[in-house]
């Protein structure tokens, strides 16, 4: 099913419910029916996403889905459809929830409970002056080109996103050099027409 991306608050969706609008309803009216609809749509996707990443049991995945959706409920008043599509917003909340969960379950770094991922990421990371427009364009480019990515590029991207891993960790897992991962990521992002770092491939190495 296609994601609902909006460039304008009143744009009509050709198919499926308008997830952005439902999310707004949750925020503005504590609308439990709207929440239920979002839950029924995104819950199974979130669980699938988490299971694909591995490292969690199905029950734990459900715990994480639940935790994510409770945060969605709590944070919905700050959701702005002009800043992010519901799917993007859900993704960032799920990512942060998983980070916190993994840290809580890791053996080291016990004493970090006072900081949660939500505090570490930029609250305004979605808000650049041109967001709504770029967002629509990005989302349709991604949908158009994602399935035609070479397998090796898609593999690296999905490993990173599904497992929440860094390029280095994916390189270790696949037993390939970090440089190979980096170039696959970069090529994939270029095919998806996503903006890459203004520094391009290399941060200049200031060797003397």
């Amino acid at each position: 099913m296609a994601t609902q991306i909006k460039s304008k608050a009143k744009m009509n969706k050709p198919s499926g419910p308008d997830w952005n609008a439902l999310l707004v309803k949750v925020g503005s009216h504590q609308d439990k029916a709207a929440f239920g609809a979002l839950f029924s749509h995104f819950g199974p996707l979130l669980k699938g996403f988490l299971l694909k990443g591995g490292g969690v049991e199905p029950e734990q995945a459900e715990e994480l889905v639940q935790e994510t959706m409770i945060k969605v409920w709590r944070k919905a008043p700050s959701y702005a459809p002009t800043q992010a599509a519901a799917s993007t917003w859900m993704y960032t909340i799920a990512r942060n929830t998983r980070i916190d969960w993994l840290r809580k379950h890791a053996k080291k770094n016990h004493q970090t409970d006072e900081l949660v991922a939500e505090d570490l990421f930029d609250e305004n990371e979605e808000s650049s002056p041109f967001t709504a427009l770029i967002q629509t364009r990005n989302a349709s480019n991604i949908r158009e080109h994602l399935n035609s990515l070479p397998q090796e590029q898609l593999q690296v991207l999905t490993l990173m996103y599904f497992q929440g891993k860094s390029g280095q960790e994916v390189a270790d897992e696949l037993a390939i050099p970090l440089g190979t991962v980096k170039s696959r990521v970069r090529l994939a992002l270029q095919k998806l027409k996503l903006k890459i770092s203004p520094d391009g491939e290399e941060q200049v190495v200031y060797a003397s």
Partner: protein, 223 residues
């Protein structure tokens, strides 16, 4: 105009949740200054949303929605909101005014202890409860020079206030630098004002397991 940015891999690691806390904080700090990188991250998050939407659904337990609905009205969990507001700040207002607001949350709750590394360079560690990395503020006095030092590993730096230069160039507010192993340099602040930077260094402990490979951030080592 910001001329030095995190590379694409770092931004992607950021968006996928693959970074440890201190590097993550350094990237978010750079984003406070840099619209271009924020736009790149925004695209990477949209990709995350699309991958989520394209995912194969996994059936949920029948009662999960009902259970979740029942929890919505319960009082918030203890740690849910605590970090958001820390009213009493121990951060000196003068310094606070020079740092991005984003960083205040990490500094409000702790006393910064400035320690001199040379007559013009001082450092204050920021505790985020993480053992893999050290997060710190570095301050070079106006016109001051840091000692020549080399990098045993990689160091991440974000210029927060003022500017500094070294043999290779001048770095201004918002610039993000990654120093690679073997780099030798001698940063000095420009004449007009002190330079304050945020930096990420490895902790002085041996790391084990997977993070060892992940962790190239070695200790800052003035010589």
């Amino acid at each position: 105009m910001i001329n030095n940015h995190p590379n694409t891999q770092l931004l992607t690691d950021y968006a996928t949740g693959g970074l440890s806390m201190a590097p993550l904080i350094s990237i978010t700090t750079h984003l406070q200054f840099c619209d271009q990188c924020r736009e790149a991250v925004s695209g990477l998050n949209i990709l995350g949303g699309e991958l989520l939407t394209e995912c194969d659904e996994a059936e949920l337990s029948e009662d999960l929605l009902a259970q979740t609905l029942a929890m919505l009205d319960a009082p918030m969990m203890a740690n849910a909101e605590t970090a958001a507001e820390t009213p009493k700040s121990s951060l000196c207002p003068d310094l606070a005014s020079q740092l991005p607001k984003y960083l205040h949350r990490f500094l409000n709750s702790q006393e910064l202890e400035w320690r001199s590394l040379s007559s013009t360079l001082s450092v204050a560690a920021i505790s985020v409860g993480e053992t893999d990395y050290e997060l710190a503020l570095h301050r070079i006095d106006a016109g001051g020079k840091a000692p020549v030092h080399d990098h045993k590993g990689t160091e991440l730096t974000v210029v927060l206030k003022g500017s500094f230069s070294d043999e290779d160039g001048i770095y201004r507010e918002g610039d993000f630098l990654m120093r690679e192993p073997g780099d030798v340099h001698r940063p000095s602040a420009t004449q007009d004002q002190a330079c304050i930077c945020l930096s990420v260094l490895s902790a002085p402990i041996k790391l084990t397991g997977i993070k060892q490979v992940l962790n190239p951030f070695m200790r800052f080592n003035p010589s």
